[in-house]
Every structure is written in C-alpha cells, then in structure tokens.
Amino acid sequence: MNCSQARDQLPALLYDGLAPADATLVQTHLGGCPVCRQEFAESQRVRCALNNVPVPPVSVDVSRVFQQAAALQQRRARRWRSATVAVCGLAAALLLVVLLRLEFRFDAHQLVVRWADSPQEQTPIPLPTPEPTVIVRREVVTNPEVEEQLRVIRDTLHALAGSLDTRDAQFRQAVGQLETRLESLRMQDGRRWSENDRNFAALYNAVFFIPKQGVKQ
C-alpha cells in the first residue's frame, strides 16, 4: 500500500469504517511511514477537538408545540374557507356569464354589458315593388239620349244657380234697406230723446226756479 492509498483510507480507519483486513493493511503502512502517521495523529486530534464543542441543553416545550400546531391548523382552515368561497363565487359568476350569455366590451370609453342573444340582424324590408303602371284609356262613348239628358240637367242646374244668385242679391238688398231704416229710426229716436230732455229741463226750470228778484216758492 502506498501513501496515497493509505491517506484515502485514514478517515475510514479513524471512524471504524474499514473491514478488519483493510484496517490491518493501513495500520501496517502507518507503522512504516512517519508522514502518514503524523497525518493520522493530526486527524485524531481534530476528532477530539470536535468533541469539545459544547452544545447548549435544550428542552422543547411540547405543550407549546401543540398550541402552535392548533393555531396553524386554524389559520389553514380559515384560508381554505376563504379560498373555497372565492372559488365558488368565481364559478357562480362564470356560470351566470355563460347562462345569460353576457358580453362585456368597451365602447366609446364606456363599459357595455349585453345579455341574451345578440339582436339578430334584421332582414331588410323589401321595398314594395311598384305596381306596374296600367294605362287606362278612356273612350268616350257618345250617346244622343244621354247627351240630351245631360244637357237638360246642366241647364237646370244653371237656372237654379241663377235663381239662387238673384234671390241672394234681393235678400242682401232688403237687408241693406232694413239696416238703413233702422239707422234712421235710431237717429230719430236719438233726436227725440234729446228734445225731450230739453223740454223737461225747461219745464223743470219753469216750475221750480223763480228769478232772483222774487222769493222761491
């Protein structure tokens, strides 16, 4: 065994990790190699030094562990409840959107919400087709008897119209005369009243007023 092989085995030898045969080989090499023996001695000192590091005594408070565990479980339960409520709310909102076929969009800086089916595109109302023009050609059928009757009727109508005009004129004239007569009567009546007033005033003065020279009776 050479030094390199022996040095590789020193940690295992130090910690009793070698098979007895291998340990014997390494021990034999150490017996004849001062360098490896020195290194093994230094490793032993390190092992002892490691044991000198003190460890603070620890006493775990088990009841506090239980209390902290209970508090943690309560917090987790609350978080699960909140998460469940949030998920259910989201699912309900999504279901509502799907059922109502909600549509959200922004249009002219406004939030537009539409539900139900989109208005179907209305089919344009067809313009009424113009009826084909029917040209009616009037044919005047001449019939003498009918012509005669029509002429008689026309004349009669003219005569009646003339008569009505005449009567209307006469009526207006009579009305005018009556208005004139009424106006004159009104004037006469007015004059009479004025005369009467003067007569009464003169009579009143004659009866009740005595001239200044005499005594009033």
Partner: protein
C-alpha cells in the same frame, strides 16, 4: 424496554400525543447538537428546536415508515436550518458560557477549552455547507454514509469524498493544536 421510534410513531399517528412527547424527549438533544454544529449559533438553537418539532408534528400524518424516523427528523431540522441561513448570514457565535466537556477543569484548561471551542467552531463554519453537513452527521450523529445518502440525496461515494475533504481541511486548519490527552467523545 423503551419502545422503538417506529412504535412511538405508530401510537402517535393513532392519536397518542404522549408518544409524540416521548419522541421529542428522546430526540431534542441530538437535534440541538446537530443544529448547533450546523449553524454555529447556539443562541438560535432553542427556538429552532421548537420550530423543528412543530414542523414534525404538523407533518406527522404524512410520515410513512419507509426509512427511519431519525432520518426524517434530521431532514426537517436541515430544512429549518437552511431557512434560517436563507433569512440571514449567520456568523459563528461561541458559547462562552457553555459547559466544558472535561470534568472539573482547572481555570487554565477552562480558558484553553474555550479557545479551542472557538477555533473549532470557526473552522466548522468555514467549511462549505455540504462538507459541514456530512461531517456533523457522521461524527456527531454516528450515521452511516448510506443513511446520510438517503437524507441528503447525494451518493454515498460523494459523501465519503466530502467527509474526507472536510476532515483534511480541519486537520490543516487546527494543525497547531496541542494533542488532547483524552478522547471525550460522548
């Protein structure tokens, strides 16, 4: 005869909280030792141990007897220590009022031991975390490399290399130490 870890865990999972208390009592000091050497912060060990056993209690329903309870517990302690390390760089705090290992020490040896303690703690803290971890688990906890491999997820051969490298570093670092008269390995 004391019940084994597996029996206590089975009773605990059945609802016997006293079984959990027994496990705490059995493993609190080894976990404290592990955390002390891993972090180099004896002032944090008390609270960290409390946290480790709280995590173990919360994770108890999920524990399955596939490995050993101790490996599972050390795994929890390792994660807790790494969380502390992530929260802030730790610097080694020597336990100035720590109990001396040798019985009835003289004042000179007491100060020597304290100096030795400080040097060893500093040297341990200088090791990279993977090397420090395997050294602590192999030296202080007496775990086999196969058990450490299950705990850390690294192959046993890699762990042996790390262990040898850690031991070599400490050997060089503490070369000036006087040879100890006795082996005070607990």
């Amino acid at each position: 005869m004391d019940p084994s870890d597996a029996e206590l865990v089975e009773r605990w999972q059945s609802g016997d909280v006293q079984a959990f208390a027994a496990l705490v009592h059995r493993w609190q000091q080894p976990i404290a030792r592990f955390l002390t050497h891993l972090l180099g912060r004896p002032d944090l060990v008390g609270d960290l141990c409390q946290d480790v056993f709280l995590r173990a209690f919360m994770a108890g329903p999920r524990y399955r007897e596939s490995g050993t309870f101790s490996a599972w517990l050390y795994r929890i302690a390792l994660n807790a220590a790494r969380d502390v390390g992530r929260r802030g760089r730790h610097k080694v705090v020597s336990l100035e009022n720590g109990e001396p290992v040798s019985p009835s020490p003289s004042p000179e040896s007491l100060s020597e031991q304290r100096e030795l303690t400080r040097l060893v703690a500093e040297a341990l803290a200088e090791l990279p975390e993977p090397q420090r971890l395997v050294l602590i688990l192999r030296h202080y906890e007496g775990m086999r490399f196969e058990d450490i491999a299950r705990l850390t997820g690294a192959p046993a051969s890699t762990l042996k290399s790390r262990f040898a490298a850690a031991l070599n570093y400490l050997r060089v670092r503490l070369r000036h130490l006087d040879p100890a008269p006795e082996d005070h390995r607990p």
